[in-house]
Amino acid sequence: MGCIYGLIALGLTLIFGIMKIINFAQGALLMLSMMVSYWLWAATGLSPYILVIIVAPVMFLIGYVSERFLIKPVLDAQKDVREPVSVLLLTAAFAIVLENLCLMVFGADYVMAKTSFSTQTLALGSVTVSAARFYGLLIALVVAAIFYMFLKYTQTGRNLRATGQDRNAASLMGIDITKTYAIAFGIGTALLAVAAVALIPFYYVHPSVGSVFMTKAFIVVVLGGLGSVPGAILGGVIIGLIESIAAQYMTATLTAMLVYAVFLLVLFIKPTGIFGSPYEW
């Protein structure tokens, strides 16, 4: 679970690191990915993990297009403004639109992809874990590793990082900022698609599921340091661990409160998070 938080936070931190935008539609886009994967799974009966081949590109496209037609115009109009507040609100409004669109189309029912391994458990040495969760963990780790390599070693990855460091300098070096932004947003959404297929075998899907993960993703991102890739994963693991360990000893409410308490504590002690630098923003 923690790694999936990390994966969701990864998309958030990527978009933030490069575009300096907090994407409030992240939760809603995750919900959309989960819905799409669920219905694809229901229609084809294939394993959700195979469906990622379809869902990820579809979500990438959705992310790419929505950046191009929704966020870019506002960003252009606000070039002289230091903090693109309007863009942030645009994503929040976009989230409302998406959530209610899905509510209209899919209804408010809770659905879950009941695969053959949804209820299975695996025995790893002395520990027993739910199979679906274990696969989810593996997927998250593999994708995070691939993503890290991509960012580090490919030309597009270099472009992304350069744009994140200094927009103007990158533009002077001949990087197409417009395209890079759209790609960043697209990848951020595609990561959600991966998180979605990892989630649906063991997590209920409904139109407001996004908000459950949204706040967690925010906490993870701040915990790890805004814009930091390893921070997102580590932060995700920390939150996931706190949740699952605390759940053994206390009620669900107290567990949730504990997560927030840890978050506040980190804010007071090292406000920039584990990997954040105070000058990044």
């Binding site: 507040v85 309007s86 409302i96 209610n100 906490i219 701040v222 409160m257």
Partner: protein
């Protein structure tokens, strides 16, 4: 210059009188309620504007202040019978305290951290309220919500059988916040806030204590937001944690302000009244049909507004004024230029 100001004053005075006389025309309680809610939203948006608009610190958890005001005042009222007129100051004080707790660590940092911290803390508070049935002898209500004790028609408890007294109270609150907004904006604090919004480093270099001024702005905003929460509590007489503290409440204030025009005195008021009226009308006509349709349309309107008019309605008004100012030349132009630079 005097000509235009006078004309403006006459228009404002006319509007004030019209608004005061409104209850004579509108007799149906439902319409009255809608109008009251619209004004309350305008008020809350104006409160948010002080920290979000002037200081540019994006608070996405203002719902916790409405909740602080509403819950504390009403718990005191329910347990001790303390009049909300007094209780609201305690609620407001707690809200100010909360704003310090959030602001102190995060205002050291730039923009995004504050926004994210407010979201997380607001979410934490919602979870907390939802799961707290009672603290000692104080009944909080938990997820079932808190019902305000009914005492019948009682001005001391701010409970009236008719909607009209509420209307005048909220109208007074709106005028008060407009006045305060104007005062903050034109005071030293307002200039500091705008300076630190535009460039924090430059503001600090000019000797402005950035963190302190942000904290002051946040405290003012929190206090008046809490008063709005108290009004909500006495009007609705039922506190539902998600409605009063949740993301819907917090986001609404932000949307209204941005659509109206953040950082202007009248922007949040105009945005608040127009947008909440629109959303109420959509809800009224479409709410019963397809689930989610009215919110879908509402979100769409907000999105379109931000895409085509990212600086809000006030910016549009200013541009029209400026265009007209060019035709008038002289005093009209100078005055609207002053408006524009102030906006």
């Amino acid at each position: 210059m005097t000509g235009l100001i006078n004309k403006n004053r006459i228009i404002i005075a006319g509007l004030v009188i019209l608004m005061c006389l409104l209850p004579m025309v509108v007799t149906k309680p439902y319409y009255m309620h809608v109008i009251i809610m619209c004004i309350l939203w305008a008020y809350l948006a104006s409160c948010w504007n002080i920290i979000g608009g002037y200081a540019g610190q994006l608070s996405l958890g203002h719902g916790i202040y409405t909740a602080a005001g509403a819950y504390i005042t009403m718990i005191l009222f329910n347990t001790y019978g303390l009049s909300p007129w007094l209780g609201m100051f305690i609620g407001g004080g707690v809200a100010v305290l909360m704003s310090f707790i959030i602001g102190f660590p995060t205002f050291k940092l730039r923009g995004a951290y504050y926004a994210l911290a407010t979201v997380a803390i607001a979410e934490a508070i919602v979870v907390l309220i939802n799961n707290t049935g009672h603290v000692g002898q104080y009944v909080v209500g938990g997820a079932e919500g808190l019902i305000v004790k009914m005492v019948g028609n009682s001005p001391a408890a701010i409970q009236f059988n008719s909607k009209i007294p509420y209307y005048y109270i909220v109208l007074f609150m709106l005028f008060m916040i407009i006045f305060i907004s104007k005062w903050v904006k034109e005071s030293k604090l307002g200039y500091y806030l705008v300076a630190l919004r535009e460039d924090e480093d430059a503001a600090a270099a000019m000797g402005i204590n950035v963190r302190r001024n942000k904290l002051i702005a946040a405290a003012i905003s929190a206090f008046f937001t809490a008063l709005g929460g108290v009004f909500y509590a006495v009007l609705i007489r039922y506190l539902e944690p998600n409605a009063i503290a949740g993301a819907t409440m917090s986001n609404q204030m932000v949307f209204l302000t941005i659509v109206g025009g953040a950082g202007t005195v009248l922007g949040p008021v105009i945005g608040g009244i127009l947008l909440s009226l629109v959303s109420e009308v959509i809800r009224f006509y479409l709410g019963g049909q397809l689930m989610g349709l009215h919110l879908f349309i509402y979100g769409l309107i907000v999105m379109l507004m931000i895409i085509f008019q990212p600086k809000g309605i006030m910016d549009l008004v200013d541009r029209i004024k400026r265009k007209r100012g060019k035709q008038d030349q002289g005093e009209g132009g100078a005055s609207s230029a002053r408006d524009a630079s102030g906006a």
